[in-house]
């Protein structure tokens, strides 16, 4: 049985293919269209899924759309009926779109799919937003039975859902509904701090360690009413997302002592303190939620999904809270992951197929579910681009890359199938030595062309994780934040403590400074031989050479650019940034040997 899952028309559209219950292919449209967070119909991603399995649309038993557009429309109407006469601006903007386009979504989807071959509406199914999140969290997990928690902005109307998964069945039991949403609350602060909603949230999380959470009481007093069982309501008089085109209003600005920060403008301590406060509140609410889940569902396993589950700092706290023995988080926890979830839901619940559970392993295959390029394809593309490269055996390639890394070089690492989800996990990554004191600065200025308040994330050999971080579980998808091991830390002097922002980040705070945040935390990725043998070998060889099983792993892109997908995009990024060395398949390229000029440098709007 072949099932396609589709997530589209909000942000981060994606397509996924399930064959006999196995996830065969999945990718986000942005990687093909080169438009970050692309929300259009994922035609290129769908084409990739079909090509990957050598199928045509005739072979597809059904296509599953990740939510119910009509229920979403009903929620909008209900909201206007509650807020009118306030809300006209929002109404006048949203309604024409709905009336022209979205209400006829079924027809539109059928039309889009028909471009690939004959397709009729009978083969199109719709699930619910939180059901596809829950399915994406439970079905690929290694658990036979688990509690499920979905937390996001909003789908149709659910914003928080608690459920149980057992074998091939998922049942959602409790919900919180719009406008009461932890995701929207965090998004409101993201907006207020001058970042983009639905993508800048991780920046707020990254700013938080610089601040003092002095506004926590203010938030609990004025903005959110949290009950002891984790349920909550958000006080709408401070927000604008029900009735307007912005997230927060003037009353909100008064509460935090000033207007919204203009995007790209200077960040001050006040902004840091606000970020720290909403992060603390979010962690507090998430812990209350997971404790309530533990009390309501008889299971020691927890599956998480929804955009808020990308808050890896909070995830680390949930793990430490000890109410669950094991936690599994869908790597594409945001709406992109709903493509997988929708397809898995149909396979197991609509068609009642048995679930296959891997022994001790999840079904995401390391999230390496995207396109890959054969050695011949890589060579052909590189030759056509005029690249100067040598072909090496695997052992020689690894030796050369380790040599470069340990002498402070920045390496582009393009290997195997592209990652599904927002993180680069060693298939489309830029790698560097985390021990070098200035590496964080070098990478940001020479490669990413930005100043960043966030350090980079470390990849570490799975069996060595406990020696380097205060973490004794796996984190293959970079979804847990844990402190750097005490013994590796370097205490800051009082003068250093008082440094501000990036100056503070540039003080070496551990023996792996490039991946250590100002609060000594790190967003860890454990690397496993089972899912990415080549990257595992590279880390092992780097450890053999240096004694350090850790590498800096940042996504292979420049600011505002979707992660590279093809060898050509990798080559362009390599040539237009300070990357010294590029390893594409078995091909190795040195920057100082290149003779071509890449003149048409693609431009990307800042993210």
């Amino acid at each position: 049985m072949n099932i396609i899952g589709i997530s589209a028309y909000y942000h981060d559209s994606a397509a996924a293919l399930i064959q006999s219950g196995r996830i065969v292919a999945a990718a986000q449209e942005e990687r093909f269209s080169r438009r970050k967070h692309d929300a259009r119909f994922p035609g290129a991603a769908l084409k990739f899924c079909l090509t990957e399995a050598n199928l045509s649309i005739r072979d597809i038993d059904c296509v599953v759309y990740y939510e119910q557009p009509m229920r979403k429309f009903q929620r909008l109407l209900k909201t206007y009926l509650s807020t009118a006469p306030a809300g006209f601006t929002s109404f006048a903007t949203a309604m024409p779109l709905w009336l022209q386009d979205k209400l006829s979504l079924q027809r539109r989807l059928v039309n889009e799919i028909t471009a690939f071959g004959r397709f009729d509406a009978q083969r199109l199914l719709f699930t619910e937003h939180h059901l596809s999140h829950a399915a994406s969290a439970f079905y690929p997990s290694p658990f036979t039975q688990a509690a499920i928690l979905v937390i996001d902005g909003v789908g149709e109307d659910a914003t928080t859902s608690i459920g149980v998964g057992e074998q091939n069945q998922i049942c959602l039991a409790q919900q919180l509904r719009f406008p009461h949403s932890l995701g929207l609350l965090y998004a409101a602060f993201t907006y207020y701090l001058g970042f983009k909603v639905n993508s800048g949230e991780y920046k707020v999380m990254g700013l938080a360690p610089y601040g003092v959470p002095i506004y926590v009481d203010t938030i609990f007093q004025h903005l959110i009413d949290l009950k002891t069982d984790g349920s909550f309501r958000v006080r709408q008089e401070y927000f604008n997302y029900c009735t307007g085109l912005t997230m927060t209003n003037a009353r909100f600005a008064d509460l935090f002592g000033g207007p919204r920060r203009a995007p790209e403008s200077l960040l001050t301590q006040r902004h840091f303190d606000i970020a720290a406060s909403i992060q603390v509140v979010t962690e507090h609410v998430m812990l209350a939620l997971t404790r309530h889940v533990a009390a309501s569902v008889d299971s020691r396993n927890l599956c998480l999904a929804g955009g808020v589950a990308l808050n890896c700092v909070a995830n680390g706290k949930i793990l430490n809270d000890g109410h669950f023995d094991r936690i599994w988080i869908q790597p594409a926890a945001g709406d992109a992951g709903n493509a997988i979830g929708a397809a898995l839901w149909a396979y197991h619940q609509q068609f009642q197929n048995q679930r296959q559970i891997g022994v001790g392993q999840d079904a995401m295959a390391g999230s390496y579910l995207g396109p890959q390029y054969s050695a011949e394809q890589c060579q052909r593309e590189l030759t056509a681009l005029g690249a100067v490269f040598e072909e090496l055996t695997e052992a020689d390639l690894i030796a050369a890359v380790v040599e470069a890394l340990s002498t402070g070089k920045v390496v582009g690492w393009f290997q195997g199938r592209m990652e599904y989800g927002p993180r680069a996990l060693g298939a489309r990554s830029i790698l560097a030595d985390p021990r070098q004191a200035d590496m964080q600065k070098v990478l940001n200025l020479k490669v990413k062309f930005r100043e960043s308040f966030r350090p980079f994330a470390p990849s570490v050999l799975a069996e060595d994780v406990a020696d380097w971080f205060e973490l004794d579980t796996e984190s293959p998808y970079m979804q847990l934040v844990a402190p750097v091991k005490q013994a590796l830390r370097i205490a800051m002097t009082a003068a250093e403590q008082d440094l501000f922002g990036i100056d503070k980040l540039n003080v070496p705070r551990s023996s792996i400074p490039a991946v250590t945040h100002v609060d000594y935390s790190a967003r860890v990725q454990t690397v496993h031989a089972e899912t990415n043998p080549l990257y595992y070998q590279l880390l092992s060889a780097f450890k053999q050479r240096t004694g350090c099983p850790v590498l800096v792993n940042t996504s292979f892109n420049v600011r505002g650019e979707p992660i590279v997908n093809t060898p050509e995009q990798a080559f362009t990024c390599f040539m237009t940034t300070g990357i010294d060395l590029l390893a594409i398949g078995s091909c190795l390229l040195y920057k100082n040997q290149q003779t071509t000029q890449v003149s048409d440098k693609p431009e990307f709007a800042p993210d």
Binding site: Q68, M70, L77, K78, T79, Y80, L81, S82, T83, A84, P85, G87, F88, F91, A92, M95, P96, F126, T127, E128, L131, I162, I170, C171, L172, A173, Q174, Q175, L176, R177, F178, P179, H180, D225, K227, T228, D229, S231, F232, R233, R235, Q236, C242, Q349
Partner: protein, 70 residues
Amino acid sequence: MSAGDSFILTEWRDYKIMNRVLMALLFYGLITPLAVLLRLLGRDLIQSQPDTQVNSYWQRLEPIETRNRR
């Protein structure tokens, strides 16, 4: 700019104005009176206010099989 272009622009602007007028009619003529009526009846469709009288805001769901799906 040729005359043809400006004609299209005018038409587009008219269309936008028409849209706005229609939306205003819908919003103030239909949605708003309904909203006022609901408020008079004490109905709050999205339960927008915190409630100190209850211990929990969780909404229990009926088992999934019985819910309608399209």
